[in-house]
Amino acid sequence: MGHEWDFAFLLEQRQFILRGLMGTLYLSLTCIGAGVALGLVFATARLSSFAPLRLIGTCYVEFFRNIPALVQIFWCYFALPILTGMQPSVFIAAATAISLYAGAYLTEILRSGIQSIEMGQWEAARAMGFGYFGQMRYVVLPQALRNVVPPLTNQIMEIVKTTTVASTIAYGEILYSAKLLSDQEFRPIETYTAVGLFFIVALTLLSFASNLLERRLRCYG
């Protein structure tokens, strides 16, 4: 093991690294938002009393869950443009693919959360005069989301990890920046170890935060 470890150069390159981090953050937040929105839509579809809607929901989940994120990203970036005639930016391609992918998982999580709310809650809201959206917004969803904090946080962490796959189409998130840096400085060990450490630390912190949140929510009943 004759290799000398030297992390100092990372500090010099911090501007560059920071841009990569921003890339990861930006993509993560976009996909989390879009993924949850998709999850809500398709969870409602899967719970609908209208059979065709249920079928659409199930198809969405099965299809987008069983295809790797990388394949979806490639499809959005290389294949879709030919059909639509427009070449999306790497960000849009990656965001679309990852949102659709994560949305499939989130659909199932939100569905189980909503299903766990007893009928009486729906009825009480309905009896007061709330329509479907009112019932969901003020009574059902606030409780459903509280009930699924653990799997929801897990999925959010998965989304953050999946953004690294966007590096394959040269989207400037942290792994892509690391790769460029490593090739430039001939220091793969430090760069990739640093990226690994970043995710380990960031996700462990996120996991702690989620545990705290869960404990606080339990007090409200």
């Binding site: 009896a127 007061m128 005069g129 509280r146």
Partner: protein
């Protein structure tokens, strides 16, 4: 016209089960009507049809002089619009056996949410309204607590306040005390009695025959999805004309007739 509710020939099926077989009912303003009957007789279903938590299959419901829904080509079968039903439900309050308070809101929040989001009240106005109604059921001191910390009786009284805050023209009570421990039943019945005395139009499904005798203006005995007997509490509870009514009352051995009729 001071008739708040008129029900004509109400039918309700659950699949092959014909639960309501032609109910006729008229409720005048400030009347308190108690509905009694065996389990499965259809009394809860009747109540739930009145605020359309269950959709009637056939029959006309007229609320405050206005027919609800529109006639279809089939005689007696109505079609209803969601908007109309939501508006109706805001004018009819319901209290459930399982209370169904919203656990993620405080007591106050539970009472305020309807007025704020459905009647467009400001938060300050809604809070004042909530305080008034919580005071009315005697539970104002718990306003900032979460429902989980309250006893069953207290929760049910909050549920009553929540329904009252919508300022309904009629209140429906679906076995409001059946899920309560016996020692907590009294406080809820007391609140209900006070409401009745204040002049609220109430339809109460209950097993509490003492309440029926002392508070009801009219008692209706439902058997097999139909109105089997109807009249004042004295008529139905003390001198029932129908055999099945007598049978039903006999099985409620806790109900003791007042010794000296005054």
């Amino acid at each position: 016209m001071d008739e708040v509710l008129r029900v004509e020939n109400l039918h309700k099926h659950f699949g092959a089960l014909h639960v309501l077989r032609g109910i006729d009912l008229a409720v005048r303003k400030s009347e308190t009507i108690v509905i009694i009957g065996a389990s499965g007789s259809g009394k809860s279903t009747l109540l739930r049809c009145l605020n359309f938590l269950e959709m009637p299959n056939e029959g006309r419901i007229t609320m405050e002089g206005k027919l609800v829904g529109r006639e279809t080509r089939k005689p007696g079968v109505m079609s209803y619009s969601t908007r109309e039903l939501n508006a109706l439900r805001a004018r009819v309050g319901m209290v459930f056996q399982q209370f169904n308070l919203f656990p993620h809101m405080t007591v106050e929040g539970n009472v305020m949410i309807g007025p704020m989001k459905l009647r467009g009240m400001s938060e300050a106005a809604a809070r004042k309204l909530a305080e008034e109604n919580l005071q009315r059921v005697g539970i104002l001191e718990k306003a900032k607590e979460y429902p989980a910390r309250l006893s069953g009786g207290q929760q049910q009284r909050v549920a009553i306040a929540r329904a009252l805050a919508m300022e309904p023209s009629m209140m429906l009570f679906d076995e409001a005390t059946s899920a309560l421990d016996p020692e907590l039943v009294g406080e809820v019945l007391l609140s209900m009695r006070r409401l009745s005395d204040e002049g609220m139009t109430m339809l109460v499904v209950t097993h509490e025959l003492g309440f029926a005798y002392n508070v009801a203006d009219r008692v209706i005995f439902i058997e097999n999805g139909q109105v089997h007997e109807e009249g004042t509490p004295q008529e139905v509870l003390l001198n029932p004309k129908q055999e099945r009514t007598r049978e039903f009352l006999r099985s409620h051995t806790l109900f003791r007739l007042p010794e000296a009729a005054s």
